[in-house]
C-alpha cells in the first residue's frame, strides 16, 4: 500500500520513481506554450527535400493563390474563440502562427528542439502524435486563418473600430437551409495538404496547442480529385470544376490600400465558405444533354458548350439567345462576361466532400465551396444572387458555411497573423 522511493511499487501502466524528475521549466498551457513557439524562424529548411514546402511567410496568406495548384486534401474547421481578453486573443493568433510555420516547414525528429519549445516537463506525453511517424514532412501544407464578424463585435476584444466593412454573418439566400450545427463560428481554419493524414495531424496539433482558447464547432474534410483524365479535376457531378478563375494580377482578391478597408486588413481577403450538398443520386438520373445545359459545359472535355477545349472561352456575345450555351446555364449566370459583371468575379478554390448517409439512405456528398474576394457583397453575393434560380438549384442544398476576413500574411520573422489588430 505504500510506495518505496527507489523501487516502483507496481509496474502498472507507467512506472514511477517518487522524488525523481528534473526541475524543468513549466509551460503546458497554451498561453505559455505560445510564448515559446512564436519565435520560430521562417527560413528553416524543410524536413524533407522531396515533399514540397509552401512558404508560410509572405505579404498574403498561403492557401489562396499559393501554391498555384490547389492541394489534394483539405479540412475546413470553424471554431468558437474562448479567449476572453484582447491579450488572450493575441496569444491565440501567435500560437496559430507558430503552428502554421512549424507545420508548413515540417519537423525532423533528429533536429534539435529550440529550448523555448521544449515541453513543460520532460517525460510527459510525446510532443508529436506520431500520426505521420517521427519526421513530419511539409507535404504542401498551408494554413489559412479567417476571423468572423463576431470577433469584432465581441466587446471583450475592443476591436469594433477595426471591423472590416461588409463583414457580416452569412446571408441566407432563397434556397438555403442553414443548419446551425454547420454554420458560422468565430474563427476559420482552412488546412490544406497533399495527404489526408497530414490534414488530420495538423488539426490535431493545432487544437492541442490552442486548448482552452479555441473550441471546435464544426469541421468538414474535402478532397480535390486527380485530373480525369487530364486538365482540371472534376467535382461530384462529374464536371471539371475550377477552370475559370481570375489570375492574381487581376486584383480581384487581395485587399489593397485603395479598398476602403482598415489599414490592418491590407493583404487580407474575404473568405466565403458554403457547404453545399449535391443530390448525386438525383443528378445521375438526368440525361447528359440536360446536365450539360445546366452547367454550360461539355462533361467529357470541360469545354464550354459548342467549343472544344476546357480552356476555350465562352462567347456569349455571339450567342445572345442562348442557342449554344443556355441563358440560365450555371457558368453563364455566374459570370455573364460583360463589362458590368466583370468586377464581380471571384477566386474559387473548393473541395469535394463525402460524409455519411442521410435519413433515406442517400449519400451525403457535395461541395465545400470556398471563394476569395476583396468585397463579399460586390463579388460573392452578386454572383450568388444571379444564381438564385438557376436550374441546378434543384440538385443542390446549401446548408452551412460562413463569412470571414482572411488575415493578411506575415512577413517578419517574429510577426504573427492579425498583428495589425493590436497595433
Amino acid at each position: 500500500m505504500t510506495s518505496n522511493p527507489t523501487t516502483p511499487p507496481r509496474p502498472g501502466r507507467r512506472s514511477f520513481l517518487i522524488g525523481a524528475g528534473s526541475g524543468a521549466a513549466v509551460t503546458a498551457l497554451a498561453a505559455t506554450a505560445a510564448n515559446a513557439a512564436i519565435h520560430s524562424s521562417p527560413s528553416a529548411t524543410p524536413a524533407s527535400a522531396t515533399a514540397p514546402a509552401v512558404p508560410f511567410h509572405g505579404a498574403t496568406q498561403a492557401g489562396v493563390y499559393r501554391p498555384a495548384d490547389q492541394q489534394r486534401q483539405a479540412c475546413f474547421a470553424s471554431f468558437r474563440v474562448l479567449a476572453t481578453t484582447k491579450a488572450e486573443l493575441k496569444t491565440l493568433l501567435q500560437v496559430l502562427t507558430a503552428q502554421g510555420v512549424k507545420l508548413s516547414t515540417g519537423v525532423r525528429a533528429a533536429d534539435p528542439v529550440p529550448a523555448e519549445s521544449l515541453p513543460a516537463i520532460a517525460g510527459g506525453p510525446p510532443q508529436n502524435s506520431g500520426v505521420l511517424g517521427e519526421d513530419v514532412p511539409p507535404d504542401s501544407f498551408t494554413m489559412t486563418v479567417g476571423l468572423a464578424a463576431s470577433v469584432f463585435d465581441n466587446p471583450a476584444f475592443g476591436l469594433a473600430g477595426k471591423k472590416p466593412k461588409g463583414l457580416t454573418e452569412m446571408t441566407v439566400f432563397p434556397n438555403d437551409t442553414p443548419d446551425p450545427a454547420w454554420t458560422g463560428g468565430d474563427l476559420l481554419l482552412q488546412l490544406c495538404a497533399d495527404s489526408t493524414d497530414m490534414v488530420h495531424y495538423a488539426l490535431r496539433e493545432i487544437t492541442k496547442a490552442t486548448r482552452g482558447l479555441l473550441a471546435l464547432s464544426w469541421k468538414i474534410n474535402g478532397f480535390h480529385s486527380a485530373p480525369r483524365p487530364a486538365g482540371t479535376p472534376r467535382n461530384l457531378f462529374g464536371y471539371k470544376d475550377g477552370i475559370a478563375n481570375p489570375a492574381q494580377d487581376e486584383q480581384l482578391v487581395w485587399i489593397t490600400q485603395g479598398s476602403g478597408q482598415p489599414d490592418w486588413a491590407v493583404g487580407g481577403t474575404f473568405i466565403v465558405v458554403r457547404l453545399i450538398r449535391m443530390l448525386v443520386e438525383f443528378w445521375d438520373r438526368v440525361g447528359l444533354g440536360e446536365q450539360d445545359g445546366m452547367i454550360g459545359r461539355h462533361r467529357v472535355s470541360g469545354a464550354p458548350l459548342g467549343a472544344v477545349k476546357e480552356t476555350d472561352v465562352p462567347d456569349y456575345a455571339n450567342d445572345p439567345d442562348g442557342q449554344n450555351i443556355p441563358l440560365d446555364a450555371h457558368i453563364r449566370m455566374a459570370n455573364p462576361r460583360t463589362k458590368a459583371t466583370d468586377a464581380s468575379r471571384l477566386l474559387r478554390r473548393g473541395y469535394n466532400y463525402d460524409l455519411g448517409v442521410d435519413l433515406n439512405g442517400n449519400m451525403q456528398a457535395g461541395l465545400i465551396f470556398a471563394s476569395f474576394q476583396r468585397d463579399i457583397k460586390a463579388q460573392f453575393e452578386a454572383t450568388q444572387l444571379r444564381l438564385v434560380n438557376e436550374p441546378m438549384t434543384d440538385y443542390i442544398e446549401p446548408f452551412g458555411g460562413g463569412y470571414f476576413i482572411g488575415l493578411p500574411g506575415v512577413t517578419a520573422a517574429n510577426g504573427f497573423l492579425g498583428e495589425g489588430l493590436f497595433a
Binding site: S3, R10, I18, G19, G21, L29, G123, K208, L213
Partner: protein, 256 residues
C-alpha cells in the same frame, strides 16, 4: 466543494495516508447519504430521493475513484449497464447509477428498494475494508489527471448518464476530488517543478468558474439541453486543465 483543501504531505507515503483519511471521511458522508436514500425510496418519496441520489453520486465523484480503484465493490457502487447482457435491466446493474436510472425512468420502491439496500450495504462494506485496502503511491499522480479525464470521457460525453442529465454536477465534484489530490501532492509536485501546482490550479479555477456560470440559482442544467455555445466554455476550460494535468504523472515517472 470541500470546505478547505487538505495540507500537502511531505512524502508519497504521507500523500497516500492522507488520501486514505480523506476517502474515509467521504465514505462516512456517503454512508449517511445512502441510508437516507434507502429510506426515501422505501417511503416512496421519490422527489426527495432524486436530490439525495445527486448528493450521494457527487460524494462518490469527490472520492476520485478513477479507473476502478475499488475493484468489485467499486463497480457494485458505481457500475454502468454497458457490457451487461440485459443492459439497464440486468440484475448485475446495481448501485448509484442503477438508482439514477430508476429514479429518472419512472421506477419506484418496487424496483428500487432492494437496490438501495444493497448500495447501503456495499458502501458500509467498502468503508470497513478501506483501512486494509491496497492504495499505491504510484497511482496518486495518475489519479491527479485521470479523474477529470473521466469527466470528459464518461460524464460530459453522456456515456454515464442514466437519465438525470447531471454531467455538470458530477464534473464539478470530479474537480473537487482533483483539487484534493493535487493539494496533497503540492509539496512533491513543486519540488520537482517549482510553481507547477499554481499553474495547474489556475486552469482548475478557470474550469470551476466555467462550471459555476452554467448554474441557474444554484441548480445545474441538464448538460444536453445546453446549446453548444454554452457547453464550449466548460469543455474548453476542461481541455486546457487536462493538458496541464497530463504532465503531473511525468514528474514522477521513471520512463523516458
Amino acid at each position: 466543494m470541500p470546505d478547505s483543501l487538505p495540507a500537502p504531505a511531505p512524502t508519497m507515503d504521507g500523500v497516500v495516508a492522507a488520501y486514505r483519511n480523506y476517502v474515509s471521511g467521504q465514505l462516512d458522508t456517503l454512508t449517511g447519504q445512502a441510508l437516507s436514500l434507502k429510506a426515501s425510496i422505501g417511503n416512496n418519496s421519490l422527489e426527495v430521493a432524486r436530490r439525495q441520489w445527486l448528493d450521494a453520486q457527487m460524494t462518490w465523484q469527490r472520492v476520485g475513484a478513477a479507473y476502478g480503484s475499488f475493484g468489485d465493490l467499486g463497480s457494485a457502487i458505481n457500475g454502468l449497464p454497458s457490457g451487461l447482457p440485459k443492459g439497464s435491466a440486468d440484475p448485475g446493474f446495481t448501485g448509484l447509477h442503477r438508482l439514477e436510472y430508476g429514479l429518472f425512468h419512472g421506477q419506484g420502491p418496487a424496483e428500487l428498494a432492494a437496490v438501495a439496500s444493497k448500495l447501503y450495504a456495499d458502501v458500509v462494506e467498502l468503508h470497513g475494508k478501506l483501512p486494509t485496502m491496497e492504495l499505491a503511491g504510484s497511482d496518486m499522480p495518475l489519479r491527479c489527471h485521470e479523474i477529470l479525464e473521466d469527466s470528459l470521457r464518461d460524464n460530459l460525453s453522456g456515456n454515464n448518464d442514466q437519465g438525470s442529465g447531471m454531467a455538470l454536477a458530477l464534473t464539478s465534484a470530479d474537480l473537487d476530488g482533483t483539487r484534493v489530490v493535487l493539494a496533497l501532492m503540492r509539496t512533491l509536485v513543486d519540488t520537482l517543478s517549482p510553481g507547477y501546482t499554481a499553474k495547474v490550479t489556475a486552469t482548475l479555477d478557470r474550469l470551476g468558474n466555467a462550471l459555476a456560470r452554467t448554474q441557474d440559482q444554484g441548480t445545474w442544467p441538464a448538460w444536453r439541453t445546453l446549446p453548444l455555445a454554452a457547453r464550449q466554455p466548460v469543455t474548453g476550460a476542461l481541455g486546457a486543465a487536462l493538458e496541464s494535468l497530463a504532465y503531473v504523472p511525468a514528474l514522477f515517472s521513471t520512463d523516458d
